[in-house]
Symmetry: C2
Subunit: 404 residues, 2 copies
């Protein structure tokens, strides 16, 4: 049985972005940028007015005040005043308009008096006052955004300000899902005594979406090795990652490993010293010169969701080209004691809160791997190391913030 | 000029969810739940085995050990063993299978020896060992999820485990966008001297999407009151909220207020004691018995994005039925001094970080309302009150975590 850290390393060690594609800016929100963006011009592209007011030569106010300047015209944003402004002259100007030649500052309209074709200025104006200089936000040739980031609204703003219509983003990985188990009933099937709903498929669809990948749902199958094999075999070429749930333990009806191995997948590991999720199996296989990753996830909902967050999500992120692919980690203090058995790392579902400069955590409910409500009440997963048997209240442990 | 808190109150005071719709569970991820979900059966639905092993009466181990029990059959998950198990008998059982009548515990298979049709048990087994009881996760009749939450993967899991095929969610608000200003060029237009790209439309589309609403892009128009009026008039019935950018100041070319007022909208406020975003205008109008909210946003990118986060996003959240609609607020210490003018609340774009039990913030770049890079580098907005002129390094202030 290998340890969590080693298993995670094996899952992630060979993963590379699966490819790039061009998308229009309108479709780029939340995609992962696949190219460095270099400014093809400066922003602002030209010196311009930050206010509605009057463009002047500041040196005209370096004398006995008040001074009178002659209004020689006006220019709104988007227009260009072609003549140079001379000493003693001013141009009426509006926010965003090009600073006219010969001027170096703008005095706001509410600070002057207008007397026919003149303005009266009663204070000294500094050079550059109310001017936004070309390139003061972004300089031509500057690297504005680096590949590997997830594009948010501000990045879309930057890209549009640079007039970029199309950008390269990483292709979204496709993730197949097959639930196994005779006891599973779909949402619309009658729930007989002894059977339960197939919930894993639905949580996985949502988790895959939340990771920015594309879920491909191949339904459910009973405990039948040939059927499992055929479904994986038929659909693997469409997927980058294939997830099965259930059937990976040592029981008489645990046929998933047999099925996956029969298609020639190389077993990288089976069984990890962790709880929940001990029977996790991981395989790699080459198809049409592309690597396919197959996870045999356990059957219990808690084990499925947690192994997804700790193994599958980071793998999806790496295949998607994300620079940051590991769960966000904090340190937090337990508010209560905790007992566990030695030998396996425990993933404890916890509620995180912040008080007096510390992060605290407490169990979000009973930790049996079948519990759904405990998952819904959690916003973190605490990692309690293999060799620990007892955690006293107040002990600091590592916690991963969940993104599910 | 009214204050920020008052203006925000006016925007939010009358907002109610715009409506409900039914969606299939597959389409419910990230939607806002519009009904309380009550468990129609318990989870687990029946007492079942947590292990592959043997179901026994625990009292059979209350005697001199080892004991031998006769194997009377086996039952896997999804099957039902119809006969009652008597004293001295056991049933081979698999994870998830119904606990058979007459038994109260399960001993794992690796802890027994099998001798022909008998198992040998060498330890006392407690009642309930390795049994998952019906309803220990969720009890029939229990409120499982409350309306107003945004559905994440764990909620989808709960709903599917309860066999819920369709649920009621709140309708997504539709938000129209019209950019105004002669200087604006679209991404595919040549950028002449004096003109700039229309970036506000693109950031707003992304911000609206990030708030779970539907953006409707009505393009851009020059500084022409009739055109602005006509575009709003023609499209307002399709929108719950209408956003314009630019043209709300006191300049000669600021026609948005005139246009909005000419269609009969009631002005709730214009000008707020804040920076950036001072000329913000807000209107309400009834159309086909529905309230329409119109914001005249300023023209500068920083002012647009920040007023969106502080006013428009909370309004979208309220119209979407979200229980939590205000920005997440923390307290953080400035790492540097800060000077501002009295009279207006300042929204300072900041980077937040956590160190030694404290949140710290520093300006993410120059705070001019036109700067885009400062926005991209920020993950928070610090709120510096109207009457403050000087903030010393180390001072704690309120910070909103941005969701853009």
């Amino acid at each position: 049985m290998i340890k969590f850290e080693e298993a995670k390393k094996i899952v992630l060690e060979s993963a590379k972005p699966i490819g790039k594609e061009k998308v229009f800016l309108e479709d780029a929100f939340r995609r992962i940028l696949a190219e460095d963006i270099i400014a093809n011009y400066s922003i602002p592209p030209f010196d311009n007015s930050a206010m509605d007011g009057f463009a002047i030569k500041s040196e005209d106010t370096n004398k006995d005040l008040p001074v009178k300047l002659r209004i020689v015209g006006e220019e709104s944003a988007g227009e260009i005043f072609r003549k140079k402004i001379d000493k003693g002259q001013t141009l009426r100007i509006f926010t965003g308009a090009l600073l006219p030649a010969g001027t170096d500052s703008v005095i706001p309209q509410e600070e002057v008096e207008i007397e026919k074709e003149f303005i009266v200025i009663r204070r000294k104006v500094r050079k550059g006052e109310n001017v936004r200089y070309a390139g003061e936000d972004i300089k031509e040739g500057e690297i504005v955004l680096e590949k590997g980031i997830q594009l948010n609204s501000t990045h879309i703003g930057l890209l549009s300000a640079l007039g970029i219509v199309e950008i390269e983003v990483y292709i979204k990985p496709k993730v197949g899902i097959l639930a196994t188990g005779e006891e599973l009933k779909d949402l619309n099937e009658p729930l007989l005594q002894g059977s339960i709903r197939n919930s894993n498929t639905y949580t996985l669809i949502a988790q895959i979406k939340s990771a920015g990948a594309i879920p491909l749902n191949y339904g459910k199958t009973g405990d039948n090795p040939n059927e499992i094999k055929n479904i994986i075999e038929e659909n693997l070429n469409n997927c980058d990652i294939f997830l099965t749930t259930g059937g990976v333990s040592v029981g008489k009806y645990d046929y998933v490993r047999e099925a996956v191995e029969s298609i020639g997948a190389e077993r990288k590991f089976w069984k990890v010293a962790q709880k929940p999720g001990m029977p996790l199996a991981f395989y790699v296989l080459k198809r049409e010169n592309k690597l396919k990753y197959i996870f045999g996830l356990p059957g219990n909902p808690g084990a499925v969701m947690i192994t997804f967050e700790e193994y599958v999500r980071p793998l999806i992120y790496l295949l998607s080209g994300r620079k940051n692919y590991l769960p966000q980690e904090i340190e937090a203090k337990f508010t209560h004691d905790l007992k566990k058995k030695k030998g396996r790392l425990n993933f404890i579902r916890v509620k995180i809160f912040f008080e007096n400069g510390e992060y605290y955590i407490s169990e979000s409910g009973p930790q049996g791997s079948g519990f759904l409500k405990t998952l819904a009440n959690a916003n973190g997963i605490a990692l309690i190391p293999e060799d620990v048997e007892y955690i006293k209240a107040g002990t600091k442990v590592k916690v991963h913030i969940v993104e599910w």
